[in-house]
Amino acid sequence: MSKIESYFHTDWAALTSQDWVGLLLTVAVFIAMAITFFYALRPKNAKTLEEQRMLPLRDDE
């Protein structure tokens, strides 16, 4: 039986420079995504964003 802590065990010393670049990029992109979600779902920004819904309806007719 594998223990949950052994499943998540990480040998930090074994990480290569590519591993670190990948790890940091992933975390950075994840934070950027969280910020975007926060911005999009914040009630204060609802009006500004929802106004854009109409854009395709007034483009060529």
Binding site: Y7, M33, F37, L41, L49, L55, D60
Partner: protein, 474 residues
């Protein structure tokens, strides 16, 4: 007196891409149906190497994905970017160069694949010279699309509509993925070997493979959905905020999924688990997007009774929701142990390809045809007929593959009381025959619908041209 000057859009090239797309839809689905028929009745290959299943299948996938899908994406991207930014294309000449280069490339692709020239990478079979040519055409497309947005009047159009964001995601990610997966060492003009080997090669291949689905066949077609569903329904998208969340969740999530194609292989176990976990998490944004499209019709569902084009668009969203649920379930290891290497996977791919990609494209193309040629469709009844052929054809296909796939999985893993396999592989092949016939029937229905669409479009164009000529003479 105020006068509003309407921008003159470059619609000639959009018309060309649109028509090419539907011609390739007919050819691609015909080749797929023929290849499916070869599995049911193997004599159909007539012992001719160029049309054996192994080669015809690859020609089919390349034709429907790149020739049909690619032309649809180029047509709709150029149609949408002009209208949502209120200006013509940055360069009409570049767009025409792209059109000609792309069609010539597609022709060379079919010839080279029929002759057996292949890198043997799923959805990336073209040999290195054509690989590079595709990348160059794609960069041309990206440049023209990006510059059209960059040069818009930012006072008049300060915001970039979400459909363009999805196209950006498609353009950037497909360039990156295509080039990286295509890295190879050429040994002659028509032969090369992948720069990667072993499990790394497999991982890179499926990192590309699933993102061909995620970015080429999903993000680009979601751009189509976010523009054409509101246009056809004449109602704004249900929630713009949800579309923003949908976009970023897809961009972040899809790149992780490739590993779920390699469960129970030499790939480290945790990588497959991670792929499956994020696949399951992706149900949330995918369903959010599907609901966003469907709820656009809130309060106007009755329009589905009379608007056959809207039916295609909304049915495509139902298939999108279904296949984005089915895929993650199949990626979970327990289910994958049964489903992998069986026809269930083929059925799943076609639920997405026929039900989602083709149907949303068909809806968009019907809409564009009327706008581009400034006329009504030649026959609305034929669109209704096409809708039912496409829907029933897709259902025949995927139900046949569900049954055959699950049967295959169960037969392959069945043991008798002595612990030996209960069935030989040949027995499992023989058991599939009725379902292969069912699949071929689904293909015939779908292809017939595509041919009817081409006829309807050609008659519409003829009608529009005749009217133009009459007006000129009047």
């Amino acid at each position: 007196m105020d006068t509003v000057v309407k921008p003159q859009y470059n619609d000639g090239v959009v018309k060309a891409f649109t028509l090419a797309a539907i011609i390739f839809l007919v050819l691609g689905t015909f080749m797929g149906t023929y290849a499916a028929s070869e599995l049911a009745w193997p004599f159909l290959n007539f012992d001719t190497a160029e049309i054996t299943f192994g080669r015809l299948r690859v020609i089919h996938t390349n034709t429907v994905i790149y020739a049909f899908g690619g032309n649809v994406l180029m047509a709709t991207a150029f149609y949408i970017v002009q209208r949502t930014n209120g200006r013509p294309l940055y360069s009409n000449t570049l767009a025409w160069i792209q059109f000609v280069a792309f069609q010539v490339g597609l022709l060379l692709a079919v010839i080279s694949l029929a002759l057996g020239m292949s890198e043997a990478k799923e959805y990336h079979e073209l040999e290195w010279p054509l690989d590079i040519a595709v990348a160059l055409v794609w960069i041309l497309f990206t440049f023209n699309f990006t510059m059209t947005i960059a040069e818009r009047d930012k006072e008049k159009v300060p915001h970039i509509y979400v459909a363009n964001w999805f196209f950006f995601g498609l353009l950037i990610m497909v360039t990156y993925l295509w080039v990286l997966n295509g890295l190879a060492v050429p040994v002659s003009l028509f032969r090369s070997y992948s720069m990667f080997s072993g499990v790394q090669d497999a991982m890179i291949q499926w990192w590309w493979g699933h993102n061909a689905v995620g970015f080429f066949l999903t993000a680009g077609f979601l751009a189509i959905m976010y523009y054409f569903v509101p246009k056809q329904a004449q109602r704004p998208i249900y929630s713009y905020r949800l579309s923003v969340v949908h976009f970023w969740a897809l961009m972040f999530g899809y790149v992780w999924l490739g590993a779920h194609h390699l469960q129970y292989t030499a790939l480290p176990d945790w990588v497959g688990s991670l792929g499956a976990m994020i696949s399951l998490a992706m149900i949330i944004p995918s369903w959010g997007g599907a609901l966003n499209g469907m709820l656009t019709l809130s309060g106007a569902w009755d329009r589905l009774r009379t608007d056959y084009i809207l039916r295609f668009l909304i049915m495509s969203l139902a298939f999108y929701a279904m296949s984005t649920f089915e895929g993650p379930v199949m990626s979970a290891k327990t289910v994958n142990a049964l489903s992998h290497y069986t026809d269930w996977t083929v059925g799943h791919v076609h639920a997405g390809a026929l039900g989602w990609v083709a149907m949303v494209s068909i809806g968009a193309v019907y809409h564009m045809t009327m706008k581009l040629w400034k006329t009504e469709m030649y026959s609305m009844s034929l669109i209704n007929f096409h809708f039912w052929l496409a829907t029933i054809g897709t259902v025949f296909y995927i139900v046949g593959m569900w049954v055959s796939g699950i049967m295959q999985g169960l037969m392959w893993r069945a043991y008798d009381e002595y612990g030996t396999l209960a069935y030989t592989f040949a027995e499992s092949v023989a058991a599939m025959h009725p379902y292969y016939v069912m699949r071929a029937t689904g293909g015939v229905l779908f292809t017939t619908g595509a041919a009817i669409m081409l006829y309807n479009m050609l008659m519409t164009i003829r009608m529009a041209n005749a009217r133009q000529t009459n007006l000129a003479h009047a």
